[in-house]
Each structure stands twice: as C-alpha cells, then as structure tokens.
Amino acid sequence: MSLRALWVLSQEKGEPGKVRFSRRFPTVEFRAKSLVGSQYVAVPEDRDIPQLLLTELGLLDSDKPYVDARDNCARQHRSPAVELRLNGQGEKTLWPVITVIQGTLILACLPLVEAPSEPRPSLASLASVSQGLAFLTGLQDFLCGPGSKPEPDVLASRLAALPSVLLQVCPLGRPLDTPPPAGLVPAAVSPSPGGAQKQPAWKPVVHRGRATVSVALTEKVKSMQYGKSSRQDLWDVYGKVMCKCEVEGILPSVTVTLTLPPNGSPLQDVLVHPCMTSLDASILTACSVDGNDGSAFSGPYKFPFSPPLEPFRLCSYTSQVPVPPILGSYQLREEEKHLKVNVVLKLHESVKNSFEYCEAHIPFFNHNLMGSVEVKVSSGQLEVSKEKNLLVWVLGQKFPKSREATLDGTVNFSGTVAGPTDPLCTGLTAYVKLYFRVPDLTLSGCCVDQHSVQVYSSAKPRILTTRELVSSEYYIWNSTGDAPVSSGLTAL
C-alpha cells in the first residue's frame, strides 16, 4: 500500500512538458525490486518522465497527424492508469501510472504492485491503486483549490509547500492521509487539550468560540429535451449537502435531517462522508440503476456525524422528479440565405418564479459569422455576440405571468470569416442551452429544516441552512434536426 514515486507536471499548449515537482520513495523502490527480482523495472530519471507520460496521454507532438506510439487503436485508454513504455529497454514497461489531469497540470503517481509481475494483476486487486487515486485527488484539491485554475504564483507557492505537506501525509511512500484542501484554514482554533478522549487524526485542532453550523443544499438539474414524440426527454437531478461546523469539543455530535414532501420520490444513490457515525440501512436502499421502487423509504433521512473542522460534503444523492423545471422547444429551419429561429420556454407551475438569473444561449456552429439578426423576444432582452455567433436571451429574474416566453426571428450569416466550429453540431443539429439559478428551491423537494439540525454541546449554536437549484448541462435540441443520443437508458 505504498507509492514508488509522485510527479506534478505542467504542459502549456504546444510546449514540451515540465516536471514541476517530483518525489521518489526509495524504500518502496527497494521493496519493488525485491518483490519481482529480475523482472524489476526501475523508475526513469525525471528528465525522461514528461516525454514518456505525455506520449501515453496523447499530448505529445500535436502537430503530427499520426504517431503509432501515441495513436495506436489497440492501446486502450480506458482506465485511470497508463503504462509507460521505456525507450531503449526492450519491452520494458512501467505500470500502473495513475494520472489526474486538471487544465495544464498533470498529477501522476506510481503505486507499488504487491504481486508477482506475471500475470499482471488487475487494478482492482491492488490496494495501493485506490490509495494513490485518493492521494492524487487530494493533491489536486491542495494545488488547485476550489477554482479551476490557480494563479501561477499561487500554484508556485503551493508547490513549494509540498515537501512539508508530504512529510506529514506521506513521508515514506505510504499515504497516511490526503493533502489538506488549499485555502481552507478554519478561523479560531487551538491545539487539542489532551485528555482521556482520543483525538481523531483528521482533526488536529479544536474550535474555540461560538458554535456555528451551516448546511447548504445544492441541487443541480441536467436536461436533454428533444421535442419529438420518438425521443423521450431526459432530466436528471442530483444534490449535495455541504456542511461547515464550528463546534467546540474533540468529538462533538451533530445530526442533520433531510426531509422530503409527503409524495416526494426517494433520494437515490446516497453517498456519505466517512465522518458519519452510524447509518440507517433504509437510507441506502434506493438506487437509480434499479428502476423505481414505489415502496421505498422516503425519509426523514437522519445523518448523525462528528464533523471535521474544514467544510465537507456530508452526503450526495440523485433523485427522479416527474417534470423538468423549464420545458423548452427549439425549431430551426433553413430558408434560402438565412436561418429561421423559434424558441419557446415554459416554466413549470410547481417552480417558484423567482430566479437569481436565467439565460438561454443559442449558439450557431459551423457557419460564417453572423450578419443581420432580426429576432424578437416576448420577455427579457436579447444580446447578440456576432464574433461568437451567439444569441444570449436574458430572461432575468422572472418569467411573465403566463409563465411562457418566446423568441422568434431570422439570422443571416453574411460574414466572410468562419465562426466557431463544433464536431457535433452540423447542419440542423443545434441546441439552446439554459443557465439558471433559483434560490431556496429544490426540485426533489428535499430540505434541511433549521430546527432539525441537532448539536449536542453546551452552548446554543447558530444554525444556517440554505438551498438552491442550479442548472447544469440543460439542453434543448432543435426538433427539426438530428440530436445525438445522450443516454442509453431511454434507448433500451
């Protein structure tokens, strides 16, 4: 259950990769050698790593149309681990190199294979693989933080801090913990007093001061709407509960309860944080891959736990709701030299008509740049971005009283410069994408009542609960064109 080596690489587009950080664990290497004897393959020097790894990841020589070592169709890239082929060493390969890629950063580690090298064991049978994976995702959070891309100087300072982080969480190649998430240091803390109560390793310090518990429930809705009788529309809802608990004591006990409305469909695929102290079997029974079971448990969902100090994801779930929040239709027709566009959006009556924002983006791909745009909207405003071939329909905070809004008109592509392209959206294959956020709403009806949050501590805590609904990949496809299949579930 150890790692032989760890690397952080960066590759800017078109440039060769660069090792930004690396660490080898020689005692693990020593074991690797004694485990497989003559089959042993040494880890190459750092200067050779970028070339080897980037070839496997298909990121090298982007100017060459076909390189067999990189593009060979029998080399399957369908696992989190790749195999490095070491040049000039016969058929020698190094496996399994686990990688996590975020933007221009590539994180990689080489777990120890505690098995004879022939036949090659499966990834699933190696304990070090899941540990390596967890370690890398922790490292990803440490380096990149919650945003997608850290500033160069921030990244550099986090990289510089890595040796001291590793001293704590992985001093000799055997991970003891994941690196801590970046930039999440709790406010008022003090070292643990040290008494009879054993202190959890994931909570080296305790909170001092007023107790505060915040519970934020975020639900996301994905949708694919086709506007065709032959193709079933799809919408998926999934939610997560984020907690931040500032409560005194080494192991304070907190309980959060999620409730559903009387006829709500059960929460499915519930995954919980390891700090959960006990779990009711009925909470886990509903599973999305299983079809709907009407008799299933539908709450209340009690989650007793002893919280760490940093914010964490208490649980996540998926849910099946009967209707999508916004039902749309999109019709695009080609007429002589222009496209005729018609979009209708209807807000479902069960959804609160109070948005933080609501926008519909209508992109046109694989055309020349737009010329004249003659489009009218029944509500909200229209913004035209000619250089991006994009119409943005800003619906604002509210739908009109009728809960229905339309956009209608023609777009002409008289420019001579080619606009943005997309391999999927050719011809009349086109979509409208919705972006919206509704505060204080969930589609599943799931909510965390402020009074249901119980904290067993001396002082009365301040409790904050919020919930919101956010769109994610909400597409309405042109019903006159061919839309790509987005899920196998409806096809079978």
Binding site: M1, F30, L136, P200, L271, S486
Partner: protein
C-alpha cells in the same frame, strides 16, 4: 573547498538527472560536499532540508554499497544529534534520510550495527511520550519515528514481533493525533507476527499467547516480503482450536476506534484486520458486520475498495447473496455518479469487471463480468457521444461484454445501440474533427469489432461507412491501416480486415483522376501498399490504377522521390503476392514504364532492378529472396538501413543487421610513460624570452586547437563470443557517442579489418574536452562479414578515467628543467593569489614509507615531474588538463606524513583530484 555554491540549482539538476549530474563530478565528492554543508552551522534549515532531499530520493546513487550506506548513516546520525531542538522539520527529514539509507543499502537486511543502533534510538523516541512537557512542538519527531519504524517493519516483516506488549501500551496511552501512528504500527506488527507464526509447523496455545505479551528485543531474522492475502493461492492459516479470546478483544477494539483514523489509514487498518481474521480460524468474519453499513454507504474510494477486499477474502462467510447484489448495484451507481470524479468512476468500472463474486465461474483474473450484471442494470452505463474519451471507451468495453453474455432479445437491442453509437462517432469524424476525437473513434471501433466482428450485418455496414469516410478524408489512412493491422493481430479470422482493404482499394480506384493531388496520393499509396500485402485481394486493379495515374499525369516529369518510392513500395509488395503470375505482364509494364519515364535516377534504377528480378527469376527464387526478411528481426533491420527505407529488404547487401551479442571491444593500451601532447610548442630559448616565460606560455593557447586534445590508444579485439561468422570482419567503422556534454563529438574511426587469429589493430581515439572530467563513450561499429552482409554491433562502453586525461606541461620537451620549473612557479604563484578567479589551493596528506613514496611518484607522476629535489624532499608535479586547466602538486615529506599541496586554476576539479589522490595512496 569552494564556499560560494548555488545549491538550489545544483540540487535541482541532481534530482532532475543524477546520471547527467554525476558526469561532471563523482558521487563520493558530491556526497562529501553535501555532508560538509549539513555540518555548517551558518547554513539555514531550509537549505539543509534541500540537501537532505538528495539522500531522501536517491540514497542508492550516493551510497552504492552497504559500507557507504553505513558510513553515511553514521555521519547523518552525528549531524542529527548536533541539531538544535527547534529544528524540528530538519530533524524529521534527517531521520527519514537515515532510515532510507539503511534500508536501501541493505544495512537493515544484513543486520548491521548501525541499523541496530538506529532502531534502538527510534524505539526510544516513540517510547518517550513526555513531549507534553516541552509543548507539542516535539510531536512531529515522534510521528516521524513511528513512520520510520513502520517502514522498517514493512521491509523486514516480523522485526518488531516481540514488542507487541509495549506497542499495545503505547497505543493505549496515546490520546493525541499520534494515536493513529501507534495504532497503524501496532496492527501491522500484529499481522506480521501472526503471519510469521503461520509458517511454524506446530503452534501451541503458549506460542500464540506469547506474541501478545512479548516485550523483548527485536527479531533480527529475515522474512521475505509478505504478499497481501488476495495475491496468495492459498491463505496461510493458524491451526484451529487456539484460544482467541485476547485477540478477539484486541481486534474489536481496533475496529471500534477505526473512525478516529483518516480514511486512507482506516482502509489500511481494515485490510490488516481482514488479513488477521482470515489467518486465525478462531476469529469470525462477522466481527466486521457492524461496519458494513457504514462502508456500503461511503463516498470514499479507499474505504469502498477496502470493502471489496473484504468481500474478496471472506465471500459468503460475511456477505449474503443479498449483500452481494446490493454492493454490485452500489458499484454500478458509483460508476456513473454525477458527483464523483472521472478517474474514480473509471476505477469503479474496473472493479465491476473484477468483482469478487461469492461463487465465481472463472478465476482467471481476466476481465469477466459478474453474473449479476444484467443489461438492464448496466443500461445507465451505455456510452454516449457526450462522455469524455476514457469514460466512453471504458463503458463501451463493459457494455460489449454485457451484451455478449446477454439473452438474445436484450442483446440484439443492446448491440444495435452500441452500433448506432459507433456510427454517431463516425459521423462526427466525417465532419472534420480534432485528432483526439479521431483516435478515440478508432479505439472505439477496435473494441466494437473485437467483440462483434462476427456479426456481418454490423461489420459490413462499418466497412461501407469507413470507405465512404475515407473517400472524403484520406488523411485517415494511417488510422485505417492501424485498425486493420490490430484487428488482424487479435482475431484469428482476418475476414473483416480483408473486406475493409478491398473496399478501400475500390474506393481509391473510383476517385476521379483530377482529385489525385500529390498530397492525397501519398495517403492512397500507403493504403495500396497495405492492400498489396493481402494474398486474398486481386492486385491487378491496383497496378492498372498506378500505371494510369503515371501515364495521365505529370508525376513522372515532376519526379518526386517520395511518391516514386511509395509507388515502388506498392510494387514490392505485389512482387511478393501469391498470385503474381496473373498480373505478371501488368506489373512488368508498370515497372518498365517507371524505369523509362520517371524523372529520378534512384527511382528509375530501383524500378529497373525490380523489373529484372521479376522477369529473370523463377517464382520460387523471387519468393525466396523476398521472404528473406520475414524473420522476426525485420523491423529492426529495416530501421538501420540508410537508403530507400521501403525497398531495401530486397537486396541483403543493403540491409544492416544487428548482432545479438557484442562482437568487438576496445581494450586500453597501457603505456609506461605518459603520452605527450601532439601539438608543437612555439620554440623558446632566448634569454630575454625566458624572463617572461609565463606570458609566452599562455600565448600558446591563442593558437586554435593548441593543447586541446587527449590521445588514447586502444586495441580493437574480438569479445569472448565465439561465433565463427564474425571471425573475420572488414571495413569497420567505429562510431562514438559521448554520454555527457563535457566533450566535443568524437569523429568516426575506420579500421580495414579485424581477424580473430591476428594481432589486433591499434585504434587512436582523440578526445577534445570542454571540461576535463571523466566520461563514458558509447561505441558502436558498422562492419561487413565475409558473406558480404552488413552488421551493426554495440561495443562495451569505454570509460575514460580522470588520470587518463592528464597531459604533461605543453612545452617543448627539450626545454631546460629550470625553465619548466619557472613556469611551474609562476602558475603556482598566480593560482595561490587567486588569479584567475577560479583558482584554489588545497592540501592532501597521507602516510607512507620512503620507499612507498618513491614508488608512488615513479608510477604515477614520472612523466609530469617538473622538479625533483630529492635532497630537500620536495617534488613538483604539473598535470595539464586540456583545454586549459592546470593541477599542480608540491609534494613534501613531513615528519610523519607526506603533504601534497595542491594548486589549480579550476576549483571544480578539486573533488576529482581528491578522489584520485585517495585512490592512488590507499594502501
């Protein structure tokens, strides 16, 4: 010792490539410098942590032998003990470094004294739980000591097996976060102790009990590494009937407190406990029952993985059929959970394919589906064009397996969904898309065809679609050829590949001539070349097409060599075609036309050569010549040929073969007297010039190339390999490659012949250093054997040692010794006064008798002697190192030791000089 050094840069270049870094210094001297700087009180902790990192990461590079390791560990220990208390982080790093060095140099395995002392010290550290006195600041030291002991136990399983009682007490007392370290250590030691006991033939209750109450010394016996139990064919077990009450209470309490550990450490603990329970028949797996629910619901990948391990080891003694079904459903759900990350989901899919079933049908370890996975359960994992490529390929592979096994009705629907998905991908690449999408699509095609190539309705449609796309995007040629080759590699029946190739041939034939540009013709010719390899495909159309194109276009006038070569490559494969008789005339026409009309001499010649082969040789002979290259070595041989890569196999003479073993070697000719510089010095002699001797001496260096060469003599001989084929080799061309950047390129050397039964020829290698460091030369040779075949062979590397670069003072040999001494003194003076600025002086002492000293000087310094004042017991030695470095020795015999005062104009050489002196004076 030079004091100003850019350590940051040095260490990072060492870490980036130790081999390159050590090309310009030696590991002994680098290690000595590192250790020296670690002792420097003025250096700050941050720098020292950086220095220690060299030993943390590459202990084996810096300490190649056990004795080096022991010595270095001792040094580090003394550094450690002198560090102030506040340098916590540095102390932790030094601790790790010592542990690394001891384990890696086998000091642990060989039970060296140093390893023993170190383990004692570590154990004392973890037993000293009084660090509350001096606040919490000393805690990290204890944590690191625990980590080090843990690593020692892992590398030498059973080492602490007699310490369990003490460890239990420590674990029990510890309430700070260090509890995790003690707990993990205790569990591992317990597991290893039980594992060691399973090797014992008879185990009594007393033996068993004694492991818990042991508090003796360390068990210095070597157990081999223990493999995890899931890797064992048979799980080692203790005999039944032992009294397990104590062990049961220990394991339950460990399990009960496991939630105090971080998820990763929890998973390690769980795995260790699972192994313990599996090895002791008196313990029931139901011990874990209370944890199962928590584990089933976990969002944490390591805990879920540990649960699967538990399932693998205990199967139905812990997991009911219902549990199994439930766990599998959770896995499928997790494999597509929108809130998990992509690598995690890919891992879960891999876990589904290797799901440890209670009643597995096969146990091959290959990918196989658990029987419980049905098409409807897996439907949510069907691939879509919206997936990222890894997820898409992974899902496609999984679902292909699902539908191969499914009932007819379900399978039909499922496979046609997968087929539609492939068609959707093809539609995307038809619309001109990025390389990544193309590569992914071909990988998907490969997966689909691998599973469903036998279903003609799909495979035929794919053939048609691929040909149609090829006609619009001929740059897909290498992908298509790759697909054809790979499918042929993995299927016994190459039917589909032949169909596709036939389709592509037809497709190229139907392209209107106007569309055949030089650019797309290159792709088409690649495809046709591949098509010509298929015996089942008629090649006449290919030949007509080529002839037609050549006659009706201006290709022959343009005379593009690449195109000509590509056309000939097709012809070459056709020559080998089994039905060559049927297209004999057509091919002869084509070759004749090329040899007559193509405006490139090389192409003409080759076409004519093929024509001659075709028309003059019987079919059998032709096949024989062409088949010559069909042995396994083909790919390698071809890549070494420098001419006409595509057609060279025809003539064996053009092929360069690679020898399997080393045939030749270079042996150094030991010279008694040192070599003299080959350059002519300016004549000196007149008295006024001697006054300004140094200036005159230095002026010589303005002549380009002066004194810049080292000449080394070798003999080129056979190695011990006695293959008679190589007894006589001719026209040998030796090629040299310098491993580092310290030397300019060495030019090739030509030797007429080497015969095994004759005197080996002498070879003179001239080296021009930029910097006079030891180096290694890669040598290879091209030569011919008596049968006329050409060979490429590697020779053993030639290493050039430091003393081999020494030259005498580059002045006229007949110059009076007084003049030489004058130059010596001048150089010494300027060196000692720090001019030029890289100058340095140093001192080296050693003990030897009078005779020993005389011998030493005679053997090593004879040719470099400047002055020999025996009476005063002073010797002056000057080593000149090209291009322009001097190392001067003034050797004096002191009371009880010999002193070598050293002056040089390049301090970077000092470590090498030191090592050299150490070597020659070592008794």
């Amino acid at each position: 010792m030079p004091d100003v050094k850019n350590w940051d840069q040095q260490i990072s270049s060492f870490l980036l490539s130790p081999s390159q870094f050590l090309a310009s210094t030696t590991c002994e001297s680098f290690l000595a410098e590192v250790l020296h700087e670690l002792r420097n009180d003025k250096a700050n902790d941050q720098l020292k942590i950086l220095l220690v990192s060299t030993l943390l990461e590459h202990p084996m590079v810096l300490c190649p032998s056990a004795s080096d390791g022991e010595e270095t560990a001792l040094e580090l220990l003394s550094i450690f003990s002198h560090l102030p208390q506040k340098s916590i982080t540095l102390k932790c790093n030094v601790m790790l470094a010592i542990t690394n060095v001891l384990i890696c140099t086998s000091c642990l395995a060989t039970h060296s004294k140093m390893a023993e002392d170190w383990l004692d010290l570590l154990f004392e550290t973890i037993e000293d739980t009084n660090d509350y006195r001096c606040s919490l600041s000393q805690q990290p030291l204890r944590a690191t000591a625990c980590d080090c002991i843990l690593e020692l136990e892992i590398c030498s399983p059973g080492l602490l097996s007699q310490k369990l009682e003490a460890l239990n007490l420590l674990k029990h007392q510890e309430t700070s976060i260090l509890h995790q370290s003690y707990c993990t250590l205790y569990t591992l030691v317990l597991k290893n102790a039980i594992r060691t006991l399973t090797n014992q033939k008879e185990v009594t209750d007393l033996d068993f009990k004694s492991i818990f109450s042991g508090n003796e010394g360390f068990a210095w016996k070597t157990n081999p590494n223990f493999l995890p139990l899931n890797m064992m064919v048979q799980v080692p077990r203790l005999p039944p009937g032992l009294d397990c009450k104590e062990l049961k209470s220990i394991t339950s309490s460990l399990l009960d407190e496991s939630y105090l550990l971080t998820p990763i450490s929890q998973s390690t603990l769980l795995r260790d406990l699972v192994e313990i329970v599996a090895m002791v028949p008196g313990l029931s797996p139901t011990l874990f029952k209370s944890q199962l629910l928590r584990l089933f619901g976990t969002a944490d990948i390591v805990l879920m993985h540990a649960t699967l391990f538990m399932k693998d080891i205990f199967t139905d003694s812990l997991f009911t059929a219902e549990d199994e079904n439930f766990l599998l459903k959770r896995l499928v759900g997790s494999a597509q959970h929108p809130l998990l990350r992509i690598p995690e989901k890919l891992f879960y899919m891999d876990c589904i394919l290797h799901f440890p079933e209670n009643r597995p049908i096969s146990s091959s370890g290959e990918e196989s589906l658990p029987v419980l996975i049905t098409p409807s359960l897996a439907a949510s994992l069907l691939p879509t064009v919206f997936n990222d490529s890894a997820t898409m390929l992974c899902r496609l592979n999984l679902l292909s397996l699902v539908h191969l096994e499914a009932d007819e009705g379900e399978a039909e629907k499922g496979i046609s969904y997968l087929f539609d998905h492939i068609m959707a991908l093809l539609k995307i690449i038809d619309g001109d898309s990025s390389r990544e999408v193309v590569v992914t699509t071909f990988r998907a095609l490969f997966i689909f065809l691998k599973h469903f190539n036998g279903m003609e309705e799909f495979s035929d449609k794919l053939t048609d679609k691929l040909c149609e796309i090829y006609s619009r995007h001929c740059q897909l040629a290498p992908h298509l050829i790759g697909l054809v080759d790979r499918i042929q590699d993995c299927l016994e029946e190459p039917l589909w590949s032949v169909k596709l190739l036939r389709g592509l041939q037809k497709c190229i034939q139907e392209i209107p001539p106007i569309q055949l540009t030089i650019h797309n013709l290159t792709w088409h010719l690649k495809v046709l070349k591949r098509v010509a390899k298929e015996g089942q495909i008629d090649q006449r159309n290919t030949i007509y097409l080529l002839l037609n194109v050549l006659i009706n276009s201006n290709l022959c006038e343009i005379g593009n060599w690449q195109i000509g070569n590509a056309v000939l490559a097709v012809c070459r494969n056709v020559l080998e075609h089994p039905s060559i008789d049927r297209m004999f005339i057509a091919l002869a026409d084509l070759l004749q036309y090329i040899s007559g009309n193509y405006d490139d001499m090389d192409i003409k010649d080759h076409a004519h050569f093929y024509y001659t082969l075709l028309t003059n040789l019987s079919r059998e002979k032709l096949a024989g010549i062409l088949a010559k290259d069909l042995d396994g070595e083909r790919a390698k041989e071809r890549s070494h040929s420098s001419v006409m890569a595509e057609t060279d196999e025809v003539a064996g003479n053009l092929t360069v073969r690679k020898t399997k073993k080393q045939v030749l070697q270079l042996i150094k000719v030991e010279e008694k007297s040192p070599h003299s510089s080959s350059d002519q010095a300016e004549s000196l002699g007149t008295t006024e010039e001697t006054k300004n001797l140094l200036a005159v001496y230095q002026r010589q260096f303005q002549v380009p190339g002066f004194g810049s060469e080292v000449t080394l003599k070798y003999r080129l001989t056979h190695t011990d390999d006695t293959d008679p084929l190589f007894d006589r080799v001719y026209t040998i061309c030796l090629q040299f490659e310098v491993k580092d950047t310290n030397y300019t390129k060495v030019s090739d050397i030509h030797v007429p012949c080497v015969f095994r039964d004759r005197e080996p020829p002498e070879v003179i290698v001239k080296l021009k250093p930029h910097k006079p460091y030891p180096t290694t030369l890669h040598v290879s040779a091209l030569f011919t054997t008596q049968d006329g075949l050409s060979w490429h062979s590697l020779l053993p590397d030639v290493s050039v040692t430091f003393p081999e670069i020494f030259l005498p003072l580059p002045l006229l040999p007949n110059l009076s010794s007084a003049c030489k001494e004058m130059v010596f003194d001048k150089i010494w003076e300027s060196g000692a006064s720090g001019n030029p600025d890289k100058s340095a002086i140093s001192l080296f002492c050693f003990k030897t008798g009078d005779e020993g000293l005389a011998d030493l000087i005679k053997t090593h310094f004879q040719g470099y002697m400047i002055a020999n004042e025996q009476r005063e017991r002073v010797w002056k030695v000057l080593l000149f190192l090209p291009p322009k470095c001097h190392v001067l020795f003034r050797i004096t015999r002191g009371e009880d030791a010999v002193q070598v005062s050293i002056a040089t104009d390049n301090w970077e050489l000092l470590p090498l000089v030191n090592t050299y002196l150490q070597k020659i004076t070592d008794p």
